[in-house]
Symmetry: C2
Subunit: 206 residues, 2 copies
């Protein structure tokens, strides 16, 4: 059983969205073995740090929180599509060449996986492509950028997906993973009443 850890490592200098200072995780060592008998750390993190899921509330007024997702979304089969040849956007036409079925969880591998720095021109999923995925009745879509869209004024990609119960998974690391079918396990922290949650995600080779 080969397992791929497709999660981003959380550390003080990790990439954050648009390199915003307030989005960088802060680590506080509250006790260590010099001043105490234990070592204890606290962290402050934006819930959209590293690998994380988005719930409808993130983009939709009165939208559902992360509790809206049951285990159907967290333990499932997933298809990885390799779009690492794309420089800008994954459009609907790109998806037409792929076999997509009802209840699929689609993971988009792009050039985003090949750098640990934030790329202001990260590859994203277009609004039309998101609408196409919704029409195929998938349950989730993941990407290796910290956002699933960029510079779309009305946030069409997020809104199409989140208003149709398609879970969004952002901040994946897919460099080592080849196109194909896998078992996907995503376990987000169980946090009450929020719009997102950091998660550990793994792929298991069939």
């Amino acid at each position: 059983m080969k397992i791929y850890d497709i999660s981003m490592t959380i550390h003080p200098n990790m990439q954050v969205y648009k390199n915003k200072e307030e989005k960088k995780p802060i680590f506080i060592t509250r006790a260590n073995h010099i001043n105490s008998h234990v070592h204890e750390t606290s962290i402050t993190i934006d819930l959209h740090t590293g690998t994380h899921i988005d719930a409808p509330l993130h983009m939709l007024k009165d939208g559902a929180t992360t509790e809206t997702y049951d285990f159907k979304y967290f333990i499932t089969t997933a298809k990885v599509f390799d779009f690492s040849n794309k420089d800008d956007v994954i459009a609907k036409d790109d998806l037409l060449t792929k076999e997509i079925s009802e209840n699929d969880f689609i993971l988009l591998k792009t050039k985003n996986s090949f750098s640990d720095d934030f790329d202001y021109n990260f590859v994203y999923l277009s609004g039309d492509a998101a609408k196409y995925l919704v029409s195929k009745k998938i349950i989730g879509v993941g990407i290796d950028g910290l956002g699933i869209e960029r510079n779309q004024p009305t946030y069409d990609t997020h809104k199409s997906l989140l208003s149709n119960k398609v879970m969004i998974l952002e901040g994946l690391r897919l460099k080592e993973v080849l196109e194909g079918s896998y078992k996907l396990i995503i376990l987000p922290l169980k946090i009450a009443n929020v719009e997102a949650s950091p998660a550990r995600a793994i792929l298991i080779e069939d």
Copy 2:
């Protein structure tokens, strides 16, 4: 496939160790749909909040960080032992009645699972019982208290387990789970160079 979510929910008024104010999670809403087009939250949490794993560094000077655990610890079979009749401590004698094999991951169900408040007299695992588990060559032990030991001046339970590569999992919720064998999946957040990590843990009925 029946799945039990054995994780504690993280929220501002959740139980924390000894009810210490500085251990309570802090939620900050950084944007909402009144002042912005998105809803975004940050949290400050002690890494020992709710359901979490402990690494050797927590109790051992120069001990290993959470990276010491590979997926063998995270996806495994587990045995749940029901000790909800015990009022104080799980001792070595209590374990002698149970069948324990090499590579087992043992989960201890106690009365701790039946309250959401912090109990200063939470049921714990004695140092001798921990040494016995180490001698059986198990890989991990979980409990439903926020600590696996209490009022032991030399921290024998933590130190025996952590110095022998036995992973500690604390803060479980096992009320709904019956004694027996299950598939256990624990996915802690992937955080660099720390002594603990909050985790989501589930049990799958065979």
